[in-house]
């Protein structure tokens, strides 16, 4: 089957699909020699500019790597280059204090959220797209409407709610409120709605039970959107600060981002802080290297908002 492209929500910019490719400068035979020279210097200038911009984006990351791998007391950038590089700082960070715990917390926070968000959102999306039941449109509208409310606006009541049930400084208190993901429900629902009807019809005629139909027909069909969402839900949680900051206040309950933010203000050597920052970035970098295509597609389909 042809994988349906998710219709961009009305908030996403119009044409994201591949349009007719524009002929590139320099291939036109009508160009005279003078013009061609102009094109060449133009191209050189553009390459220089894009290289400069790449330096702006990549240099800070390289600095993190360099500082993290420089021996603790040796002179290093910006004043000198260290004689040798070492993984000592990275190893130290893992042995010191609650860092392993922070890492584990972030990992649980991100992965549990991915699994539960995707499963519950896919179930709801399937029903919202394919089942008729009372209150369906009201529910869909209500879920989509919550996208208008910034998370910070409900930070206080959500915190009070979690505090009332003794969820402060617990992993479940951290995770539960973030499972309500309207974007996931909405995007999966669009995806399922655009699937051809006959798939569902065939399942019905086969007499497949509802849950069987969902697990063995719906889930495989929506794998592309699930993969994209999995990446973004993971990144959102892994990189999240404000909610983990207010709900995880004890050293043991901190996530990696919260721990890093406190490390930076407390007394820790630059080498160790940078090593910790580097470790926090590695999973994101791995995801990027392996799944770049889905990330780009996800942004263009409106899977993320800024």
């Amino acid at each position: 089957m042809t994988g349906p492209v998710i219709a961009p929500a009305s908030t996403t910019p119009p044409p994201a699909g591949p349009g007719p490719a524009r002929p590139r400068a320099g291939v036109d035979v009508l160009d005279g020699p003078a013009r061609r020279r102009g094109v060449r210097t133009g191209r050189g200038l553009r390459t220089a500019l894009v290289t400069l911009l790449s330096l702006f984006t990549v240099a800070p990351l390289l600095m993190v790597v360099m500082l993290a791998l420089s021996p603790a007391d040796a002179p290093t950038i910006p004043y000198a280059l260290p004689d040798s590089l070492t993984l000592d700082n990275v190893a130290t960070v893992f042995q010191v204090g609650a860092f392993p715990r922070w890492f584990a917390n972030s990992f649980v926070y991100a992965t549990v959220s991915v699994v539960v968000v995707l499963l519950t959102a896919a179930m709801a999306a399937y029903a919202l797209a394919r089942k008729r039941f009372p209150g369906r449109n009201l529910l869909l509208w209500s879920i989509v409407a919550t996208l208008m409310v910034p998370m910070q606006a409900t930070l206080i009541p959500t915190f009070i709610l979690v505090a009332r049930v003794d969820g402060v400084n617990t992993l479940w208190g951290l995770i539960l409120p973030t499972l309500a993901n309207a974007q996931a429900v909405f995007l999966i629902r669009q995806f399922i709605r655009d699937l051809p009807d006959d798939v569902f019809e065939a399942a019905r005629l086969d007499g497949a039970g509802e849950w069987r139909t969902f697990v063995s027909i719906v889930l495989p069909l929506i794998r592309p959107i699930l993969a994209t969402l999995a990446i973004f839900v993971f990144l959102w949680h892994w990189n999240d600060l404000l909610w983990p900051l207010v709900v995880g206040q004890s050293d043991e309950a901190r996530t990696l981002t919260v721990g890093l933010a406190t490390l930076n203000t407390e007394t820790a050597s630059t080498a160790n802080v940078m090593a910790a920052a580097l470790i926090s970035f590695v999973p994101c970098l791995l995801i990027f290297v392996l799944l770049q295509r889905q990330i780009v597609a996800g942004i263009l389909s409106g899977a993320v908002k800024g």
């Binding site: 879920i143 606006a153 959500t158 892994w238 263009l300």
Partner: protein, 317 residues
């Protein structure tokens, strides 16, 4: 986020003749089964949304009308929090900080992401590699961005080493004037965030029809002229979308401030969310903090409405 729910459900195949025929009975049973199944499938999501979206949203409004302290005593105070907010110099100062930050951040991120997209669009060789290199900071957290840029901006950091070398003395990026501190913070957010807008601009550029550009080129329009006269005007809806999204992002600035300046020096970077955080989690004045949250919500809502108005008015879709 509005096109969706209006699409009518496929209406039942010609509403069946009323009356109790065996067929209509079977159909009714099937319908009931479908409704039960549908409700069961949405149940987990419904429960999660009620508990952690609908209740907190209603709660935010309700709490903002109360005096709600850490001790747990709650009393209804009507609009007191709002009148206090409007009379609170700290609130207006936070709003001023946030607005100045937005004014610095939004044009900068728009310019950088548009320039990056235009360069990538024109780039022939290694365009995929360059796209990855430009996008990669988007994967980092604001916390990590804050940590590395704190080091870059530090008095003994690389930027000031460069300034020292030319005798320009240390520049107090994070401890100087308000304009300098907020601009420095804006640069960090642009570094971390522009990859997103860049990709959206890039998609907009790739979707532009070739013939218009070709015609302008044959007419002798230079690359610069073509960009500003043709390419950029055709990107208007995309630009507007990004403008609104990044403005909303700008109003929510918190992480970098928390890591890099702590709202200082002398509260010059004490943004709206920073005030909410302080009121809630330093002074434990929950009712008042909730009112600050509502203020943010109103601002974001107005921006979203303006966006919808302008974008949807433009194109029939």
């Amino acid at each position: 986020m509005s096109t969706t729910a209006t699409s009518p459900a496929p209406t039942s195949p010609t509403s069946a003749p009323r009356g109790r025929t065996p067929r209509s009975d079977a159909r009714r049973r099937a319908r009931r089964r479908e409704a039960v199944a549908g409700l069961l499938f949405v149940l987990p999501t419904l429960a999660i949304f009620v508990a952690f979206k609908f209740v907190p949203i209603a709660g935010a409004g309700a709490m903002s009308l109360t005096r709600y302290r850490l001790s747990g005593d709650v009393s209804f105070v009507g609009a007191d929090n709002y009148t206090r907010l409007l009379a609170d110099d700290a609130f207006w100062a936070s709003l001023q900080v946030t607005l100045l930050y937005v004014v610095l951040f939004v044009p900068l991120i728009l310019a950088v992401s548009l320039a990056a997209a235009a360069l990538l669009d024109a780039q022939v060789r290694l365009s995929g590699t360059f796209r990855s290199l430009l996008f990669v900071p988007y994967l980092s957290s604001f916390v990590m961005a804050g940590i590395i840029w704190s080091w870059i901006f530090a008095t003994d950091g690389p930027l000031n080493a460069a300034f020292d070398a030319v005798g320009a003395g240390p520049v107090p990026f994070l401890s100087g004037s308000q304009l300098l501190v907020l601009a420095s913070l804006a640069v960090v957010s642009v570094w971390k965030g522009f990859g997103y807008s860049m990709l959206i601009f890039l998609a907009g550029l790739k979707a532009q029809p070739a013939d218009v550009h070709e015609a302008a080129r044959i007419d002798g329009a230079g690359a610069w002229q073509r960009f500003w006269r043709i390419t950029f005007p055709m990107l208007r809806p995309v630009t507007f979308f990004i403008l609104v999204i990044e403005t909303i992002v700008g109003f929510q600035v918190f992480d970098t401030i928390y890591v890099m300046t702590g709202g200082g020096p002398n509260r010059v970077s004490h943004s709206l969310i920073y005030m909410l955080y302080d009121q809630g989690f330093k002074f434990f004045d929950y009712g008042y903090a909730a009112a600050v949250g509502i203020a943010l919500f109103v601002i974001v809502l107005l921006l979203s409405l303006v966006q919808r108005r302008l974008v949807e008015g433009k194109e029939p879709a």
